[in-house]
């Protein structure tokens, strides 16, 4: 940790990076969905409530928000709220599955200032991608990307969650992004939401992680949202702050207005409060008990004797929590294998008790509805 990251860990007046999920509705059912999205929640914020949040973010000088979901474009007031954000000086970076990017919406998005798009693709071919995101989604995303290019949207981000099945395709993603003049963003797969169940089979192997680390080190221009900081224990740090930002520099506002420490911990243990409370979001950010606690110095716990603790900070809180490890245990993907050992010990002692999500908006899987099993890969 540097002097700066020490200070960042103590908290800021406003978050650096705020994720705001606009709806739990989604027309897809990706097997790794961090928010178990599918059905809209009846208590989702109204247009007026959304605008009141934007007003407060503008007042707190939050420079931009990362909009996610669910699929944010499914909100009927999507453009109205995006335009309101831009008008208030709150930049919009939104993540989409591309299903609603038509020739027309692409043109509308291209005409707006301060709007960035991140489009999700989880395989460089139909077989790899559709196994995770659902049948037909590869073709649909490519169509969306074509619309953005035809509308002269400019540089968008192509976002890939790294799994055991797709991590070896990184060169092909790089080439595909280049073909569209897009930026490539690779994100760590955490066992959150529906990923709690699929992570154990789908997260990259140790050997794949080490290869990925070297690949990223050689390509500082590839964006990662700082998500692979646990790999910095391998030596030279990856670009970024290299710390767990939960409740310190990042947080999440969910579609019903609940505030969580990060987008990967939709669980009551990590719920700091609600925007409906007195003082709104600012009060939660500045003085909630949970965030205050997360800003206190962390106990290295089991990692105390490891010479790399300063480099990785013990890894990702969400990943530990949802695999059943205590928060002061090593990251399950610890590059020295300490996390695998810790998980194996849990199994040997009667099995890991894995938390489930506190909020699940997955659609029920209908009888006879075709879902591609991950195990066929």
């Amino acid at each position: 940790m540097t002097a700066l990251t020490d200070q960042l860990a103590e908290g800021l007046n406003s978050p650096i990076c705020l994720t705001w999920e606009w709806t739990y509705a989604c027309d897809l059912a990706c097997v790794h969905c961090l928010s178990s999205s599918g059905r809209r929640d009846p208590n989702e914020l109204s247009t007026e409530q959304m605008k009141a949040v934007v007003d407060q973010l503008a007042e707190m000088q939050v420079f931009y928000v990362n909009i996610g979901g669910g699929e944010p474009m499914l909100r009927p007031d999507f453009f109205e709220i995006v335009e309101y954000c831009v008008e208030k000086g709150v930049g919009v970076k939104f993540s989409t599955n591309g299903g609603r990017i038509t020739a027309e919406t692409a043109k509308r998005l291209a005409s707006m200032d301060y709007v960035d798009i991140q489009i999700s693709l989880d395989g460089v071919d139909e077989i790899t991608n559709d196994a995770v995101r659902g049948e037909g989604t590869y073709a649909r995303v490519r169509t969306a990307m074509n619309h953005l290019r035809d509308a002269d949207f400019g540089q968008f981000k192509l976002s890939v969650v790294m799994t055991r099945e797709n991590v070896e395709q990184v060169d092909a993603y790089e080439a595909l992004a280049a073909e569209y003049g897009a930026e490539l963003r690779l994100t760590r797969f955490r066992p959150s939401g529906r990923g709690i169940d699929t992570w154990h089979e789908l997260h990259p192997t140790q050997a794949q992680q080490i290869e990925l680390y070297n690949w990223l080190l050689a390509r500082p221009q590839v964006l990662t949202g700082d998500s692979f900081f646990h790999l910095s224990a391998l030596g030279e740090p990856l670009p970024g702050l290299n710390l767990c930002g939960a409740g310190r520099v990042v947080c999440l506002i969910d579609p019903v207005g609940d505030v969580y420490a990060c987008p990967f911990v939709l669980h009551d243990n990590f719920k700091a409060g609600s925007i409906h409370g007195e003082g709104g979001f600012a009060a939660v950010w500045r003085s909630s008990d949970l965030f205050t606690e997360l800003r206190e110095p962390t106990n290295p716990g089991a990692c105390g004797s490891c010479g790399s603790y300063d480099a990785c900070g013990g890894g990702c809180m969400a990943t530990k929590f949802f695999t059943g490890l205590p928060l002061d245990a090593p990251d399950p993907e610890c590059v020295f294998g300490h996390g695998e050992t810790a998980l194996a010990e849990l199994e040997a002692n009667g099995g890991a008790i894995r938390p489930t999500v506190s909020v699940d908006h997955s659609k029920p899987v209908g009888v006879g509805k075709k879902r591609i099993p991950v195990s066929i890969l």
């Binding site: 002097a3 700066l4 800021l12 007046n13 406003s14 420079f63 931009y64 301060y114 960035d116």
Partner: protein
Amino acid sequence: MTAVAFDADRPWRLHERVALRPEPFGALVYHYGNRRLTFLRSPDLVTLVESLNNQPSARAAFDAAGIDAKRWPSFEKALTSLAAGDFLVLENAA
């Protein structure tokens, strides 16, 4: 737009699309144009950056902000990197 190399003898100011937010460690700076985010890692650096556009040169701003000459090289380094990121532009730039 290509960033111009920093020269402490010339007049500089924050780019018009750059916003600065005070924080306990100094300030966070965001460029709405190129979407870059950076940190001003000391309150003195924040004071200096904010005073730039009233001064005929960056060097004059060092003086006006009362910064010890021994610390100038480190501040000059910080301003050089801000100019490279297009956060700072020359006074007469568009």
